[in-house]
């Protein structure tokens, strides 16, 4: 018995030592051509570009599937040609004619033609249980009319005829979204099983014309991409392999970054990023995220919130600087309008600052000299910017308490929180709204137009003039007139709206000094095509 145990231990040690030497790996590319990005990718549900809607899956699809147009990295205000080399817009902005480049190759070697674009649109509107489909169906294109709405008069022309008027800026930015990432129709059709439009196959293989193709997606383990050797839409990237290992705990991401097992960490907390700032081996790169964290106030469930002075009092009561400097450790920027920095229509003005005396005066004026009590609903997880939702809620409670408003914090799992919020049942709610497509309409509509049954509707704030204004601004291109309308919209929201904007979080990357020339923005993510590894 003893000899057996000793033998086993020795055998184990030998295997450990033997296995301890660096392994021979099957992938052809070594560390110089590989980028490892540590992040939590466990939210990915599908890598089918027409179905993908989570952060991890849409970023991966962005690199595997080219779209008609694309935003250059760092400039989210004007699209540039990608698969389409040019396009014409009809006077009523309802018909778009895209002229496709000739000779674009998919990873399979097949040539991209208009038939692939049509098949892509057919998939969006026909795939069942598609969380991303609303991006297209909101424009009036659905399974019944897709054959008339999206047509190809010849193999290199696509005509999209929108059934109803829709914002041209929003339309073009949606055309850059992975939901219409063009799939190789010949390949996908060959792998359809049980009428699934090839969806199951696309979870383990890619069929796009982007610079990378899929090696493997092992759920909860990693997503791995390799260079698409048939890519001809641009110069071949120097990075030939991109790996996202699933690392859910931020401390472990930081450990992996320090040990060199990861080149970039995307999920570090605010305090971890702050501690990296002096370290010469790493750089913290930050850019404002296209999202905001806000305190919502239901204007019917809490009688006090029917008075505009009370809504303003809350906005005077909040200690914005304290939140950004102390809680977020600088991992956020001030924002009080509904359009975040980086988008057309962003308003940098900050009409409110921390002024408890003014807040109390307004409460008195509104008939609440002794304040009032309300429930504050918050999630149990993280708030944007790398802090816990509970900590942020506690800070808000404290700020409101100083002016006489008692906030009773109720922390629930986020799915339960959203169910309550969507059912118009909250009193105060701490939430975050992030970008779907980089057009100001994507923010103005939920916050201003209650007929969309989005955020304004959830708080029962039915403002008809504002809804009309939002609709009008949405139908315009990026002109000074559009800018003036958004200024008006922002003004109405800050003065009368039930949203107290708290901050715009930063997207922060902790980058090893081995990585050079890294560019990124909140929509495209990290630009793998231009970065280089030392």
């Amino acid at each position: 018995m003893r000899r057996l145990v000793v033998g086993m231990v020795v055998g184990l040690l030998v295997a450990l030592v033997w296995g301890g030497t660096p392994g021979r790996s099957a992938p052809v590319y070594g560390p110089q051509q590989t980028i490892v990005v540590a992040n939590d990718i466990s939210d990915a549900v599908s890598l089918d570009p027409q179905l993908a809607y989570e952060f991890a899956s849409t970023i991966a699809d962005h690199w595997m599937y080219a779209t008609l147009v694309q935003f250059p990295v760092g400039d989210l205000t004007h699209v540039r040609p990608e698969v389409a080399q040019s396009w014409d817009v009809s006077k009523d902005a309802k018909t778009y004619t895209f002229h496709l480049r000739h000779g674009i190759k998919f990873s399979s070697g097949n040539t991209l033609t208009a038939a692939d674009v049509i098949y892509t649109f057919e998939r969006v509107v026909n795939l069942p249980k598609d969380p991303a489909s609303w991006l297209i169906t909101q424009m009036g294109i659905d399974a019944k009319n897709v054959d008339q709405s999206v047509t190809a008069p010849d193999p290199y022309t696509i005509v999209i005829a929108l059934p109803e008027a829709f914002s041209p800026g929003a339309f073009l930015s949606i055309m850059a979204n992975p939901v219409v990432g063009i799939v190789d129709s010949k390949t996908v059709k060959a792998h359809v099983t049980n009428g699934d439009w090839g969806s199951a196959w696309l979870n383990d293989h890619s069929a796009g014309s982007g610079p990378y193709e899929l090696v493997a997606w092992t759920r909860l383990v990693s997503i791995e991409l390799t260079a698409n050797l048939n890519y001809n839409l641009g110069p071949a990237p120097s990075i030939k392999r991109v790996v996202w290992p699933n690392i859910m705990e931020s401390t472990v991401q930081r450990d992996a970054l320090f040990r060199g097992d990861a080149d970039i960490a995307e999920g570090l907390s605010a305090s971890q990023l702050a501690s990296l700032k002096g370290n010469p081996r790493f750089t913290v790169m930050q850019t404002p995220d296209l999202s905001m964290t806000y305190l919502g106030m239901d204007v019917k469930n809490v009688p006090a919130f029917t008075k505009v002075q009370v809504l303003q009092a809350v906005k005077w009561a909040i200690d914005y600087d304290g939140i950004i400097k102390d809680l977020l450790a600088g991992n956020g920027i001030p924002l009080q309008g509904v359009i975040p920095k980086g988008l057309f229509g962003y308003d940098p003005s900050l009409p409110y600052h921390h002024d408890p005396a003014r807040a109390k005066a307004l409460l008195q004026e509104a008939g609440f000299p002794n304040g009032f009590t309300a429930d504050l609903l918050a999630g149990t997880g993280q708030a944007a910017g790398g802090i816990s939702a509970g900590d942020l809620a506690a800070k808000i409670k404290d700020d409101l308490g100083q002016v006489g408003i008692t906030a009773n914090i109720r922390q629930v799992a986020s799915d339960q929180m959203y169910s309550t919020y969507r059912a118009q049942k909250t009193q105060m709610v701490l939430a975050n709204w992030s970008v779907d497509y980089p057009d100001p309409d994507d923010f103005a509509k939920p916050f201003g137009d209650y007929t969309q049954k989005s955020l304004a509707w959830r708080l029962q704030w039915y403002n008809d003039p504002l809804a009309k204004l939002v609709d009008e601004a949405g139908s315009m291109q990026n002109t000074p007139q559009r800018s003036a309308l958004y200024k008006q919209i922002n003004n109405t929201e800050t003065m009368e709206g039930p949203f107290a904007m708290l901050y715009q979080p930063m997207v922060s990357l902790a980058v090893s000094d081995r990585v050079q020339g890294l560019r990124f923005d909140p929509v495209n993510g990290i630009d793998f095509a231009t970065l280089v590894k030392k």
Binding site: A15, G19, G20, G23, V252, D255, A256, R259, Q416
Partner: protein, 335 residues
């Protein structure tokens, strides 16, 4: 014995049926919406209504339960809402990793627990006893994620002698999937580099889990060895001149192990139900993480599937332990 097994199997069916019913009811009483969890918060209300119907969640509860039971009888566990894949596929993907981790964790638990318990018993109330008991107490009381982060911080971050999270390093080609257990698959494929890498990656998470489970084994082996060493036959063996080591191991430990076997079996069953914190920190793709994700997104088919599998594992573990007991102790007979 076979009648006993048949009766136990039959009773287990009742348990499992009850478990699925309770889980089903609880999952539908919770005020969270699985459709919104799946579609995300930006989904317009009409899309939510449409997808709810596509998922069959708009039907009355009893009808949904009957449909589920019908599928169960045919061996189908339904389709996971958050994954859009059959639950059986999900479980087949994640369970082997948990089996691999739990087995190695069990080995560590035994390697830590039994020697500690024996040392404790033989040096009762002196410093080796105190030390062992505090060590065992640490395993039970220190939070698992704390121990995990601490050991990662020391052995991976500071010293770099053990690898970080995951089952394999980024530059090791994974072996072809046969069993789903990476170390086993590496052996089956003859890929010794991957096998070594997989073993190195197993050390820390198994140790963490094993240490957390060792406490009970230490206590059990200590108390049962103390009891056995007081017996007449031990005194007789000593009187006959048998060497002390042989007395302890051949006469003492062998009999003291019986109750410990029960504890080991039940601990193994509990490890197999997944260890979500360890799996999260070490990025181990096991059933614990899957179970937690499915609970937080109210993915009812996945919750039911996982609960079912865990109920079966526990029932089997109990049965195996009972049978093993009868095998090890000739005084016990089942009818």
């Amino acid at each position: 014995m076979s009648r006993y097994l048949a009766r136990r199997g039959f009773l287990a069916l009742f348990v499992i049926f009850g478990v699925t019913l309770i889980t089903f009811v609880i999952s539908h009483v919770v005020p969270a919406d699985p459709v919104v969890a799946y579609l995300g918060d930006h989904a317009p209300p009409d899309l939510v209504v449409k997808v709810r119907a596509q998922l069959g969640l708009d039907r009355p509860l009893p009808e949904q339960y009957v449909i589920y039971l019908g599928g169960l009888i045919h061996g189908q566990l339904g389709v996971s809402i958050m994954d859009q894949r059959p639950v059986s596929t999900d479980i087949a993907e994640y369970l082997p990793a948990t089996i691999e981790l739990s087995t190695f964790a069990m080995l560590f638990a035994i390697l830590i627990g039994i020697p500690t318990g024996v040392v404790s018993a033989l040096h009762k109330d002196r410093w080796p006893d105190q030390f062992s008991r505090i060590f065992a107490l640490g395993g039970v009381t220190l939070p698992v994620f704390y121990v995990a982060l601490l050991l990662l911080g020391v052995f991976y971050f500071a010293l770099g002698i053990l690898p970080g999270p995951g089952q394999l390093s980024t530059y090791t080609a994974p072996p072809p999937r046969i069993t789903g257990m990476v170390a086993v698959d590496a052996v089956l494929a003859g890929n010794w580099w991957a096998f070594g890498d997989a073993l190195r990656h197993l050390v820390l998470p198994s140790f963490v889990l094993g240490y957390a489970s060792a406490g009970l084994i230490t206590r059990m082996s200590r108390s049962s060895l103390l009891e056995v060493m007081r017996q007449d036959y031990v005194r007789t063996a000593r009187a006959k001149g048998v060497r002390e080591r042989r007395v302890v191991i051949r006469h003492g430990l062998r009999n003291a192990l019986l109750p410990t076997v029960t504890v080991i079996g039940l601990t193994y069953g509990s490890l197999l139900s997944g260890a979500v914190l360890t799996e999260t920190i070490f990025s181990w793709p096991g059933i614990g993480r899957y179970a937690t994700n499915s609970v937080t997104s109210v993915d009812v088919p996945a919750v039911l599937g996982v609960t079912l599998v865990i109920a079966i594992i526990y029932s089997l573990a109990n049965l195996v332990v009972d049978v093993l007991y009868a095998y090890l102790d000739p005084q016990i007979r089942y009818t």
